[in-house]
């Protein structure tokens, strides 16, 4: 499939024997890591999403304060304040001013900006911990199963099947009911214990194919221990799968946490979460719609941004998906001059040579060579 990507050892630009190779100028003499980084940076939506995502989380974290440090926002998320302007948001953009309660107040007078920021912080805690715990367990189980195969594999994969059979929202709800009272961090760790199955399967599949490679053989001949081979030789090559699926797990974790909190099985009072804000205020949306729009907007924003980042990472790690050579169908069926039901040949599709939207089809101008090289 792809060229061996032992980092630094073989650069992607190494000439291949047999068959013409088509390399674009910027693929020559660059290490795999830099190549991936460059491809990611070239993916505009992903890069912008990444920056926005970091910005939103930093903004929320500094506003409400994390790790015991106080934030810069003057109000607290639990204190009741006298209502200002019927609790309406005081945020104005022209001229820009935050006002007393930029996101308004809820029905009893709590500051909604402080609550939303706190919710974002809690939701981000939860999603990162779920992502990291899930990825760690998944990688370890998948790596061991894929590397040792045989009965170890069978046992570990049957355990994975057992966990996969229970829908994540169901087991999440049960786990949340049990440990939700212990606070967001404990909830996240326990949810991570049930969210690893997807990654384990992917990592196992990757290990099954990588363990047959020559560089593994070489390491084994050189006397490397199993653990060293797993973590030093194979795992770095499987990093693409791990990173991409962890990102997607994080995106799923946002939805999972907010959904559980919405149902009342996740984060409990006095803590707040974006999902809990929506479920608590559901009855008041008629009269105070902003109580819905702020948390809902942030949930969708965070989840959308992580998904875009994940998409960009996938493209960066697996550029084959971009290499699809597709002749655009320029004239569609209704064109009577071309289509003939009697099967008379008249249609030579307007090929890639005349395509005006260059970037992707231009790769295909060299025919199938780039793909053929990869498959050899």
């Amino acid at each position: 499939m792809t060229t061996p990507i032992d980092p630094g050892a073989v650069s992607a630009g190494t000439p291949h024997s047999g068959g013409p190779t088509v390399l674009t100028k910027d693929e020559k003499g660059v290490s795999q890591g830099r190549l991936i980084l460059r491809r990611f940076l070239a993916h505009r939506p992903a890069l912008i999403s990444m920056i926005l995502f970091v910005f939103v989380i930093l903004f929320a974290a500094t506003a409400s304060g994390v790790f015991g440090l106080p934030g810069w926002w003057k109000h607290d998320f639990t204190t009741l304040y006298p209502p200002v302007d019927g609790g309406r948001p005081t945020l104005t953009l022209f001229p820009f001013s935050l006002g007393e309660h930029p996101f308004g107040q809820n029905t009893v007078g709590k500051d909604y900006f402080a609550m939303t920021m706190r919710g974002i912080v809690n939701s981000s805690y939860v999603m990162f911990i779920i992502g990291l715990t899930g990825a760690f367990i998944g990688v370890v189980i998948g790596a061991i199963a894929g590397y040792y195969r045989g009965w170890v594999d069978a046992v570990l994969m049957r355990i994975t099947d057992v966990v996969i059979v229970i829908p994540i929202i169901v087991i999440g709800a049960v786990v949340g009911t049990a440990v939700g009272g212990l606070g967001p961090v404990a909830l996240a760790v326990f949810l991570g214990f049930v969210a690893w199955t997807g990654i384990a399967r992917l990592v196992r599949a990757e290990f099954l194919s990588l363990r047959e490679r020559e560089f593994v053989e070489a390491a084994r001949v050189a006397g490397a221990s199993d653990l060293r081979i797993i973590f030093k030789h194979i795992l770095p090559n499987a990093m693409g799968v791990v990173i991409v699926s962890t990102t997607l797990l994080i995106a799923a974790a946002i939805i999972l946490e907010t959904a559980l909190s919405f149902l009342g099985f996740g984060i409990r009072a006095p803590e707040v979460s974006l999902g809990k804000l929506i479920s608590d205020n559901e009855a008041a949306f008629q009269t105070r719609p902003w109580l819905f729009w702020w948390p809902a907007g942030f949930i969708v924003l965070l989840s959308l941004l992580v998904n875009f980042v994940g998409d960009g990472l996938r493209d960066a790690f697996d550029p084959r998906q971009k290499r699809i050579v597709f002749r655009r169908v320029r004239e569609l069926p209704a064109d009577a001059a071309v289509i003939d039901s009697q099967g008379v040949i008249s249609d030579v599709p307007v090929g890639p040579l005349t395509t005006d939207t260059g970037s992707t089809t231009s790769v295909g101008l060299s025919g199938e060579e780039p793909d053929a090289r990869r498959d050899s």
Binding site: V174, L263, I278, E282, F285, S346, T357
Partner: protein, 511 residues
């Protein structure tokens, strides 16, 4: 093959048993079923506690209770074995509760699943055929957006803002000029992007659809169409004919005379049926409607067979689809005619889009009124369920179609001069369906479990409600019943997905 199937079933049963053990222990650990009684100050509290302990066998250890539950559940598999899924904390048999809940949930998820699959694949393929165009980017962004939208946000959005807005608007159903112009422009942009072609053609399509939409909206607004909608004796035949023509254009192309003849015959029969059947529709029931659809499809197939000339299969397909869609128009027209009766019903009170439950309590009416009532209740939850799985299917369909279009056999098909319609419809589309089938099959299994949140928002008393109430009360048996159904669905559909893969793609062999 047989040994593969048997082995798979054996392993699945073991997995199910192990998973049920984990679930049972977790639920027992999560919450004490006696919590509500401990907090109550009922004078006969002690007695109630003792009673509940006896109902649920709480004096036994968890493992023993699980084992008893398992024995009861295992008897459900044996015919006439006396299915026993235990009782809930009110001592009601869970089997009865489960049957009721499953009916409601299936009703909810069926329509949304079918719609999501059809629309998702359609949109994905259009998106792939117009790769890197404005349509593609719009659909891609939309599918990302819906994918990132948690179902509860979607549900609340529809319930609080859409349903209420529509009901309020229905008091005076007039489009303002801003709406008319905005919607017309959107429809113009949409159609010119989908149909494509050179600049002139795009402009023509754009102008035509802007004008059509604008005039249509204005006419609807002036005649207060939404209070008493109907297609009438002019529009309904026109629609029937237009749908049949669309089928011919999509499946066979404008030059296929036999296809036009087939479609024409079906259209004539259906239009005649439209006028002849009008007096009889009042007394018809659900089975009558099903029968009409079957008859319409039969007429289509027959017409295709007689008039199909050298390509009977294609003609029969065109006939069947034209018959199905044309009968759909006729039935839709009937529903529209009864809509104003429904609106004026005192139980509905002019606010048709419901946000709670699955039917209006104590609604009197015949089959048509009842099904309009189900429709208005199911509309919003169905949309909210549909949009979520729709997003995923679009991505898969697009990816699958692009990959197929890149295959060598597609190039061969083009090289031997097949029309683009045949290349896309017969060679690319069918092959791209193989991976989608497996994904869809695996997904459908999870859909029943996924309706928890939607059911909670729209106060639907289905499986999700059973699960949530059970879990909140620490009541193990309803939760376990829910789990068993969901797990069996998931396992079965995963199995079907694998089997269908090896059946559809001979290169994949199940072992």
């Amino acid at each position: 093959m047989l040994s593969y199937v048997l082995r798979r079933i054996g392993v699945s049963v073991l997995i199910l048993v192990a998973a049920s053990f984990i679930m049972y222990v977790l639920v027992a650990w999560a919450r004490d079923p006696l919590t509500d009684l401990y907090a109550s100050n009922n004078p006969n509290r002690e007695q109630l506690i003792a009673q509940r302990i006896q109902w649920l066998n709480l004096d036994q250890p968890v493992v023993v209770r699980w084992f008893n539950w398992l024995l009861g559940a295992a008897r459900c598999v044996i015919p006439f074995g006396g299915c026993d899924l235990g009782v809930n904390i009110q001592n009601q048999a869970v089997t009865v509760l489960l049957g009721r809940a499953m009916g409601a949930t299936l009703q909810l998820v069926t329509a949304s699943t079918i719609l999501a699959i059809v629309l998702g694949i359609l949109v994905g393929i259009v998106s792939a055929l117009r790769q890197y165009s404005a349509v593609d980017y719009t659909f891609t962004f939309a599918s990302f957006f819906f994918y990132s939208l948690p179902s509860f946000v979607m549900g609340v959005l529809l319930k609080v803002f859409v349903a209420l807005g529509f009901n309020n608007w229905l008091r005076d159903p007039v489009f303002s000029w801003t709406w008319i112009i905005g919607l017309s422009l959107v429809s113009g942009l949409f159609w010119q992007a989908i149909i494509g072609g050179n600049r002139l053609r795009r402009l023509v399509v754009f102008a035509a659809s802007v004008l059509t939409t604008g005039i249509m909206l204005y006419a609807m607004s002036v005649t207060q169409w939404f209070l008493d909608p109907s297609l009438g004796p002019v529009l309904a035949p026109l629609f029937i004919a237009a749908l049949a023509a669309g089928m011919v254009l999509i499946i066979a192309g404008p030059r296929a005379r036999f296809a036009w003849r087939t479609a024409g015959a079906v259209v004539i029969v259906l239009i005649a049926a439209y006028f002849l059947l009008q007096p009889f529709f009042r007394g018809i029931g659900a089975w009558g409607v099903v029968l009409l659809f079957i008859l319409a499809i039969g007429v289509g197939i027959l017409a295709g067979w007689i008039l199909g000339e050298h390509d009977k299969g294609q003609a029969m397909r065109i006939g069947a689809f034209s018959g199905l869609l044309g009968m759909g128009v006729i039935i839709l027209d009937q529903y529209m005619q009864r809509w104003s009766d429904y609106l004026r019903n005192p139980r509905v009170g002019g606010r048709p889009i419901a946000t709670v439950g699955s039917q209006t309590p104590n609604l009197q009416g015949d089959f048509w009124i009842q099904s309009i009532d189900s429709f208005t209740h199911l509309l919003l939850p169905t949309i909210s369920l549909m949009l979520i799985s729709f997003a995923g299917y679009t991505r898969y369909a697009r990816g699958g179609m692009l990959e197929t279009l890149n295959q060598d056999y597609i190039r061969t098909a083009r090289a031997k001069g097949l029309p683009e319609r045949t290349v896309v419809g017969r060679h690319a589309f069918r092959n791209s369906l193989i991976p989608i089938t497996t994904i869809v099959a695996a997904d459908v299994g999870g859909l029943i479990g996924g309706a928890i949140i939607t059911e909670r928002i729209f106060a639907f008393s289905g499986m999700g409600a059973l699960f949530i109430q059970g879990l909140n009360a620490g009541d193990p048996n309803p939760v376990m019943a829910y789990f068993v159904v969901v797990a069996i669905f998931a396992i079965t559909f995963n199995f079907l997905a694998d089997l269908s893969y090896s059946a559809l793609d001979p290169r994949v062999r199940a072992k």
